[in-house]
Amino acid sequence: MYNSGKIIIGIIIFLVLATFPFWFNRGVAQAPPKLEVGTQEKQCVESTPFMKANHMKLLVDWRDYVVRDGKREYTSTTGKKFDMSLQNTCMKCHTQKTKFCDRCHDYVEVAPTCWDCHIAPVEPGQAQQAKALRSSN
């Protein structure tokens, strides 16, 4: 083998990069997070599989209906009527953002833009922190 020093360095760099997910995980498969739905309701505004796949699209549609068309009433496929509102409808059941929304979004690194405009709800643990922050200001 010629230039063995350079070749071996090159192969080591390749191996380190190519096996990155193997050594970064250190053999631990972190289980996917469990969601705390936070409600006794049987069904969301639509069926669970639909919500799993399309909640982001539904929310964006709601935003457009409300903000652009001034339309606030959503009739679901089951015929029930809902107020199109993230904070008054969605968050009524899913009260805890950190235990519902964030768990999935953090696990697969999705950054929804809901909270660019909406104020994230204050949750039990955070309430005291927020209070302390306010008093220190």
Binding site: M1, Y2, N3, S4, I7, G10, I11, F14, L15, A18, T19, F20, P21, F22, F24, N25, R26, G27, V28, A29, Q30, A31, P32, P33, K52, A53, N54, M56, K57, L59, V60, C104, Y107, V108, E109, V110, A111, T113
Partner: protein, 335 residues
């Protein structure tokens, strides 16, 4: 095979792979473990070991001559300005040249097109489209691979989130369209169509040119479909991927078959890599015409396969035949 038959053979091969994956994970067949665990593991092993074996094979081949391709003034007399990038005379020139080659595809950037004008005059014109398509394709591919780290590890390194947010900067549609997804498909399509529509490109295109392009396009298209059309359960997908990478493989139920098509095509690409033209990735670093300094006149290069040659000098010859030479009247150096 001629151009069209190799094109369609490659196309049908990739369509066949898609159908195999779709049939394999259909509930009636239920080979989820094969397509979700066994084939990906085999593919990763073939990819990693295959590339290392290839590099070792290349490293065993001696390069007896200095054969850098140069396109600038070599270093000679001190008052002649030497061009260290175009005709490197030391290690820094080589590093600079290799860096620009690998990172910016510099030699592709100087691509020219020859054409015969007015029946007699040969004209050369700059041709940058191949460079543009190539660089868009490769950087999109890199970005997409790095973005996929979010499915592979936990916790997710922050540069992945940064890259994803830059890539989805314009927030078009929900889920956000990634700019590199569009660039990737456009660039790969361009690289394909130039082989179809340019006659002399079509003439030299083989099945092993078309097949990886179709495979890569298939991977890109299934990926985009999975993100924006036929959604899959990302929690289950990440569970499967993390299981693979931590050697606790599982196939969680309820992942759409489009994911297995995507995974199967990626596995085929990985396993195909060490036996194909895709080896230009490690190969660019081992190209003797690029990675050598043009210093023939400064450094003596010994042929690596030189062996000790038995010589018989004139002095020894004279010692052997001195008497006979004298008898015959031939002059000798030593009496």
């Amino acid at each position: 095979m001629n151009a069209w038959s190799s094109l369609f053979a490659s196309l049908f091969a990739v369509i066949g792979l898609v159908i195999i994956a779709l049939l394999g994970v259909a509930p009636a067949v239920g080979l989820g473990t094969l397509f979700g665990v066994v084939i990906p593991y085999v593919a990763i092993a073939v990819f990693v070991i295959g590339i290392v074996v290839r590099i070792l094979q290349w490293a065993k081949a001696p390069v007896p001559f200095r054969i850098p391709t140069t396109c600038g003034q070599a270093k000679s007399l001190p008052w002649i300005k030497a061009d260290n990038l175009e005709s490197p005379y030391n290690i820094w020139g080589v590093i600079g040249r290799m860096f620009l080659e690998v990172v910016l595809f510099r030699s592709l950037f100087r691509n020219t097109r020859a054409e015969v004008a007015d029946g007699a005059v040969v004209r050369y014109a700059s041709a940058k489209w191949l460079w543009l398509g190539g660089i868009l394709f490769h950087y999109s591919l890199l970005t997409i691979v790095v973005r996929h780290i979010r499915f592979f590890v936990e916790p997710i390194p922050s540069f992945v989130a940064l890259l994803s947010s830059a890539d989805g900067f314009f927030e078009i549609l929900v889920p956000t369209i990634f700019l590199t997804d569009i660039a990737f498909v456009l660039a790969a399509s361009y690289l394909f169509f130039r082989r179809v529509f340019i006659p002399h490109m079509r003439y030299i295109s083989l099945a092993n040119d078309y097949f990886p392009l179709f495979l890569i396009l298939g991977i890109g298209i299934t990926g985009i479909l999975m993100r924006n059309v036929w959604k899959v359960d990302l929690l289950a997908v990440k569970e499967l991927a993390m299981g693979l990478f931590s050697f606790h493989p599982t196939v969680p139920p309820g992942i759409g078959s489009i994911f297995f098509v995507h995974l199967f095509l990626v596995s085929v690409l990985l396993a195909y890599f060490p036996f194909s033209k895709l080896l230009h990735a490690p190969g660019v670093f081992l190209s003797p015409t690029r990675n050598m300094a043009n210093n023939n006149r400064m450094v003596r290069h010994i042929n690596p396969w030189n062996y000790p040659v038995k010589v018989h000098t004139y002095e020894e010859y004279e010692n052997d035949f001195r008497e006979k030479m004298k008898e015959a009247g031939i002059p000798v150096e030593k009496e």
